[in-house]
Subunit: 602 residues, 2 copies
């Protein structure tokens, strides 16, 4: 194992040099995203990195053509062309000033124009002869007709120098002294399972720190419907519990980053949130019940801009704001709008499918700028839940697997530890291998041992529990067994996702072959290799060569909302123009679903 | 003792028929205020009451002329003319529909136009084919471009019928079902010592209930400066403690009234508050420190309209509002603006002095519509504090006293109980009698027993403690002693008030004789009879015949702010036009104060 380090980004990780993968793929797999519009197909010449030290493959002819002489002298290389073979030290090149690297997601270009800004003012001091109230002094100094109550209530006497904090054209706070240099925001993606947050310097766009946590709402149910049911059963109290669970997680994460970076939380003025529609209702404390019940009309989808204290976000400035990105419907949330925007779907002239794979599978088809979306309930199988030996992607989780007739199952385990279970990518890999080697047939049924000839290399891995057949993927008897039930769980997930895909493509009068690109989004999706997605028939083989990964585009959308009012407007316009197809109302959808439940590939 | 009852107002109280006082005076002393613009001088013919039962003096010639034949047949009488002589049952006549009786205060005419109003709407229900979010349905039904966050966050699914609650043109809430008939507000006067609140039906202006309580901030200090010092020493925590003390009192009072009248607190939508400037800062949680420190510039004086939840007022609708009446300066608060407005000072064409006597004495001189105010620190002596045998106006408190050379001190005790101490009015009465009978001289010094001849009727009441002289007002030796220190406390209070009065009149180029009326405001002031105020030289004898009482005009101002947007506007205009004279900056004020410290009258 060798190490790749990115000293400027404070990133360091081990990689497998024997896999002979391109540096681009290695970086993307580790969620270090750099611009690569061609998706690694060596055609765009944009994925520039700077070689600082260590071994690299020699300059290719393509690189010599794409790079200037100056770039070559400076050690610039194209990440899709180079193949590291030892310890390596590199720097990721920002394409321009406004194009920083964000942990876990590719950031497109944007116009830097944050909603929050500051101005330093001086006020005159009252005297016995002129007892003008402070409110009037500030109104005069700030040229305002009215001092907002939220500002007034927090005024305290100072030495005359104050810093006014604005949200667009609205004064939101007054701070004693000159605090001009300290201006931070937080970009947040709230997933049903995971929450990630980045602390951003709003003056520069720099990501100061990032943090991830398990969504504390998991105590109230693993999926959104269970949590909505909890609210139904516990009414307002339940709503408050779910809200304070997630808000508590956010407060904790913000505090952790502030302590680590020695930043005063009072200088954080905005939190931008992208999330699915249920999470957005819950973090705001809005009634989620309509989302869980036909006809699935949510309370709101439009963007929201509200005081952070209103929802209990207190680990920041007392007058901080929350900006919530817009959604489309109950099952196409702000996370998908953010993703579609980060993927520039609204600007694409070709045909692109954007897909976010998780407990719900959401997808957007962009057909020459026309956007249609749909959503399907994949269930948590692909994330390692409801699988008999499923587990989270932690040390001991099998993340990939290969079956060789001679040597049996070869496992790749996170942390090179003793295998404990299967994480999401491991589960897909198992199903892929079981299909490839005919352990299961197109209907998803496990092969019966009596159908196999003696000496068949698969026989030793089939275990029986009465009439129940199971596949053992470990060498230890009775350990790491794949059941028929596990296979059904994956089959259901894949039927749901693929049938949505088919329904969308059908409705647009397209075929899979017409698609120019399939963009896989999400932190989770980034861990699902193309060969597993296609090998398990979640994505049809027709798109195998067209898959690219965009990372956590939900958080990136939140980042853009923090940094650019223009991005906010464009995301709102995108949300309004994005059509939603309710699959349960789509003619012939049931037949599509049944068709898609078959494993077609080998 | 006979009983007067007002069945419609649910008021019943005993009175002394032998005092042969006019019914008007008896009612006013009990804080049942009826319109009497002439102040009981039998000239306006407005103080109409309806005689329902019991003995009354016969119809006077004046009454025959003032009343119509129909009124006489209905039993209408003028309260200033009739003299009750036994048990009596009456009704107070509202001059017109918009002219209700408010506990403890006279209510002038006003235009009924509350800020809060309701509208019932129906929304269409979403379907699977049309999953329009609820936010959009409400925007359409209410013809709004934006649904305020405060409204949206509280939306829950209903059967399609909702009641929209507005604050002027702003939607503030949506209630499930039709709640049109339930619309309440609360008018509050926060005094440093006492808090009073009236629950008002906003549809009719009717006072549904009223409640009084001790300001729970008393635990942090009796006067405003001690409480400000507490905040100085305990910083933000102290500010929060003082805020939650007073807000807690308000929540308790509102709950008590709601339980008693079986009204759902969720149907209370507005609380209008009048208070002095320090109390207003403290109830809103705004920094009061600048008020306590030269140059005494407050944070704010302008009217405020804010969410009730922001200050912790929770015993009412979650989206209720608080309206705070405007003030003039740190020491001329919204209570005085309210009083000046209720007394119609801005409309008076003559010369009127308005005075509110309490721990602080605030006064407004209206000189043909020009209003000037000043404030003086009277100290708590007139409210029975810092007096060796002082107490609150409760059972056992001496409220009046008379000295007869033959029979000694005759005490009037609240509740006809054994005398325990002196309340404010009792203290003034004592000083009045001591002055009248030369127990003390013009400089406030107690007479020495050696200066008196043997057999002087005063001698038995002078007690000596070493060289210290004291006046015993009870027959029991050593009980109820008035010390030289007690006299000095009252003397300081009287100097402060009278000197303010003199400074104001001087500054306007007037003399006392020029004044057409002196209006005494405040719950406490209503208990101070003219003969005590003049007899202790707090008010000069030149105004003795011109004194009238207006009751708790601070709460009445809050009531008008609840019931009439026009009254709000007029009060704000009045506050802006009211000049403030800082006594400490006034030439010659020190000399005036020294002059006023002398007791001039006998």
């Amino acid at each position: 194992m060798y190490i790749i380090s990115l000293p400027r980004q404070r990133i360091k990780f081990p990689y497998d040099a024997e896999a002979k993968e391109s540096l681009l793929n290695i970086l993307v797999a580790r969620q270090v995203f750099i611009e690569s519009p061609c998706g690694g197909r060596k055609s765009c010449g944009k994925c520039k990195i700077k070689h600082l030290g260590g071994e690299l493959s020699p300059l290719s002819v393509d690189e010599e053509q794409s790079l200037t002489q100056k770039e070559i002298e400076e050690g610039i290389r194209l990440a899709c062309h180079v193949c590291p073979a030892g310890d390596l030290e590199i720097d990721v090149i920002d394409q321009e000033e406004n194009h920083p690297v964000l942990t876990g997601g590719y950031v497109p270009e944007y116009k830097r124009h944050p909603a929050i800004w500051k101005k330093v003012i001086e006020i005159s001091k009252p005297t016995l002869a002129d007892q003008t109230p402070y409110e009037e002094l500030f109104k005069k100094a700030l040229d305002l007709e009215r001092l907002p109550w939220e500002v007034l209530r927090r005024i305290t006497m100072g030495n005359g120098t104050y810093t006014a904090v604005y949200n667009q054209d609205q004064l939101i706070g007054l701070e004693k002294g000159d605090t001009f240099e300290s201006l931070y925001g937080v970009a947040v993606d709230i997933g049903t399972t995971t929450v990630v947050a980045s602390l951003i310097d709003l003056r520069t766009g720099e990501e100061v720190d990032s943090e991830a946590a398990i969504n504390a709402q998991k105590n109230f149910g693993q999926d959104v419907l269970t949590r909505i049911t909890y609210v139904l059963e516990h009414e307002e109290q339940g709503r408050e519990q779910l809200q304070s669970a997630i808000v508590g997680s956010l407060n904790d994460m913000i505090r952790t980053m502030c302590v680590r970076r020695q930043i005063d939380p009072a200088h954080i003025y905005e939190v931008a949130i992208a999330a699915n529609c249920t999470m957005m209702h819950m973090v705001l404390g809005v009634d989620p019940l309509p989302i869980g019940k036909s006809p699935y009309a949510p309370i709101f989808v439009a963007e929201k801009e509200i005081p952070a204290r209103d929802i209990g976000l207190t680990a920041l400035s007392a007058f901080a704001r929350v900006y919530c990105l817009p959604a489309v419907s109950s099952y196409i949330g702000a996370d998908i709008v953010a993703g579609a925007y980060v993927a520039r779907l609204h600007e694409r002239k070709d045909k692109v499918l954007f897909i976010d794979i998780g407990t719900n599978g959401e997808m957007v088809l962009a057909n020459r700028g026309e956007l249609v979306s749909c959503s399907c309930a994949a269930g948590p199988a692909l994330e390692g839940m409801n699988i008999s030996c499923g587990m989270r992607a932690a040390d001991g989780a099998i993340e990939d697997i290969h079956f060789h007739p001679e040597t049996g199952f070869a496992l790749e385990v996170i942390g090179q530890k003793r295998p404990l279970g299967l994480c999401g990518s491991g589960i897909l890999a198992v199903i892929r291998e079981l299909l490839k080697h005919d352990f299961i047939n197109a209907r998803g049924n496990l092969v019966k041992p009596e159908q196999l000839e003696a000496g068949d290399p698969r026989l030793p891995y089939i275990e029986l529990d009465g009439k129940k057949r199971m596949i053992r993927i470990s060498e230890e008897p009775g350990k790491l067994l794949i059941t028929q039930g596990d296979i059904r769980q994956v089959q259901l997930a894949k039927s749901a996702i693929l049938s949505g895909f088919v329904a969308l493509v059908n409705a647009s009068g397209l075929s899979f072959a017409d698609l120019d690109e399939v963009i896989v989004a999400g932190q989770f999706g980034a861990h699902l290799p193309v060969d597993s997605l296609v090998g398990t028939d979640i994505l049809p083989s027709a798109v195998q060569e067209k898959v690219s990964y965009i990372g956590n585009s939900s958080k990136t959308g939140a980042y853009l909302a923090l940094m650019s009012l223009e991005a906010r407007q464009e995301m709102s316009a995108l949300a309004r123009s994005l059509d939603y197809m309710e699959l349960s109302m789509t003619d012939g959808y049931e037949r599509i679903f049944v068709d898609c439940s078959q494993f077609k590939v080998k």
